[in-house]
Each structure stands twice: as structure tokens, then as C-alpha cells.
Symmetry: C2
Subunit: 193 residues, 2 copies
């Protein structure tokens, strides 16, 4: 089985509203997001969206932002993937144009952590360090920590950084890339931001 | 920077109780778990535990089980890591014995998904397939899906599978291993299990 031969990007994630009304928050966020540019499937643990990179990141951000706007403490955890396994399947919308469907620019503070896993690439640590340095240069770096790096700021800046990192960390030679992201929004731990 | 030269195992995770009382559930689960065998640190997004593999998995399971016993819908998402970056730091308890501190055997249904990322290993896909086959043989396999595999059953069987998979998927030659796990417990989506 070969990996990374397809331009499909996927994001498997779970949205966790820390409220008794969690179903309402999740369903509301999905309803308010235009998901027509991505293939989407939800099971009992997570949701996966697949398609062109621009749309996968746009939809991921929109779902998160809509959930955040409820004011509830929410968390998003998920994994962006480019490459296998399974990316030769037809459940993907690669014939969509490049115009994003969700354009809400409401500001929202996000504290998050991410990790990059360039697969089968002997230089993977250098790639990780390069992207962490870029986060510092862009002003979204929060903290160093074991197994991840802290990224924070406005949701639009944070997602823009993640999308760029996901582009930068893969190459024609090393196409299979995984990036985990964990976000916390409206948390009592954020000290009133 | 070299990776995978230390026997330290780490687990960076977030526990998400889908209830207004989320703080109480999280603090209660941490209080009822004996964490003396692991180094632990919590920030505004996640918690990391580090130490010998046996204790890291034991503490991860105990925190999850205690939170589950509240009856609330909870989710756990996290990443187990062996190897770098940062694993030469002193914040780890490798001098502990091998006797586990948490021995609650209460049964609890868990539906979960996992992915293995053996780093810098050209045979990584074979390793992933082998562990998924082992899940099928052990009766904890639930479903195939993009970017992950579904694992379900009693919490003790599920965690036992994950610990074995984490052992099996790394070797002296390829020490740097990452495994993501996402769990859902007491979910209305589990159909009354």
C-alpha cells in the first residue's frame, strides 16, 4: 500500500462542549457551518471531514467558531492527515473550487497545542523545529512543553498558522503528514482573556 | 537532537466531561487516582503524565474510569509518546517499582479510536496493520475508518490492548512512537450499552 499519492486532506475531530447542553451546541455549530465543500461523516466518537485543504481548514475553523460563540467552554481535538491509509476512496470532494464557504471573522481567543508528525522522513525533527520557529515569528507561540507546542491568539490567526504549517511540513518526497491539534476556548483557565 | 534514547513514556491528554460540573468531574477524577508513580503537569489546555509505561497507562485508565463513574458523558483525547522531543528532562519518575497503584476493576463500556505513528520507520504501515489485526483477534475491534481504527469494549480490555500496541509498535531500531487515542464514555450515541 502506497501513501500520500492523493491531494485529499482529512481532519478527524471531536468537539466537546463542557455543558449539559452539549448536543445542542454541537448540532448548532454543524448547522451554522456551510459544509458543502467537504465530505463529512460522524460516528459515535468523532467526525471526519475530507476534501481540498482550503475547505477542510475553513470548515474546521467555522465549526469551532460557531461553537465558541455560544459562550460555553468548548474543546476541539483532532488530527489533520494528508496521505494514507484509505485516501483512495471516493468519499471526498476534490472537484470543488477554491472559494471558501465560511467567512465569519468574529474574533475569538483560542489557546491550543499542536504536534507535527511527518511520516517516514528522517529529517522530521528539523521540520518540527522550523514550524515552531515560524509560530514564534508570527506571534502565535505560547509555550514549550513535552510532546507539543502551545499556540494561541485569535482563532483566525491560529488556524492560519496551522494551515501554513500543514502545507510547509510536507513535500513531494514526503507526502504523508499528520498534525494533531487540541484547542480550548472560553475556559476558566484562560484567566479572563 | 536524537530521539528515543530514553525509556520515558508520556501521555498528554485532555479529559472533557460534557456537563456544567466539568471542573468537579475533572478534579474528582484526579483526586481519586493515585498519581504518585508519575510526574504530572497540567496547563490551560491539557495534562501530561510521564514515567514508566506501566504507570502511565495505569494512571490514564484510572483517571478515565473515575470520571466515567460519575455517569456523565465524558471524552478523553490524548497522545502517548515514546521518545523525543524533550525526553531528556528530569521531570519523570523512572525509579518507581512496577507495582501499579490503581486497581479498581469496575467494568465500563468505552468506544474509542486510535492511530499509531511509528516515526522515521519505512515499515510503519505494516506495523499499523499488524496491530489492527491484533485488535480483531482480541475482540476489541469496532470499525474501520479514515485515519483511525475503532476499538471498543470494557475499559480494562481496551487499555490493555492500547498498552500492548504501544509496546509492539516500537523497537530498538525504531524507538520514537506516537499513538493518538480518543475515547467516548456514557455517550447518548452508544445506543444504551
Amino acid at each position: 500500500m502506497e501513501c500520500g499519492l492523493s491531494p485529499i486532506i482529512g481532519f478527524r475531530f471531536s468537539l466537546h462542549p463542557m455543558t449539559n447542553d452539549f448536543i445542542k451546541v454541537i448540532k448548532g455549530a454543524l448547522k451554522e457551518t456551510d459544509t458543502t465543500n467537504v465530505w463529512m461523516h460522524t460516528d459515535d466518537v468523532s467526525t471526519v471531514i475530507r476534501g481540498k485543504q482550503v475547505h477542510v481548514f475553513n470548515v474546521a475553523k467555522a465549526i469551532t467558531l460557531h461553537a465558541a460563540k455560544t459562550g460555553e467552554h468548548i474543546a476541539l481535538s483532532g488530527t489533520f492527515s494528508a496521505g494514507c491509509p484509505g485516501d483512495s476512496a471516493g468519499d471526498v470532494y476534490l472537484d470543488k473550487g477554491d472559494i471558501i464557504a465560511n467567512t465569519d471573522i468574529t474574533k475569538q481567543y483560542v489557546s491550543s497545542q499542536f504536534a507535527l508528525y511527518p511520516m517516514n522522513n528522517p529529517s522530521y525533527m528539523n521540520i518540527i523545529y522550523r514550524e515552531v520557529d515560524r509560530a514564534k515569528a508570527q506571534g502565535v507561540f505560547n509555550d514549550s512543553m513535552h510532546y507539543a507546542s502551545g499556540i494561541h491568539g485569535d482563532i483566525h490567526e491560529v488556524f492560519a498558522f496551522y494551515e501554513e504549517a500543514f502545507t510547509n511540513a510536507r513535500s513531494d518526497e514526503h507526502k504523508h503528514l499528520v498534525m494533531t491539534v487540541s484547542m480550548s476556548i472560553n475556559s476558566p483557565s484562560h484567566g479572563g482573556r
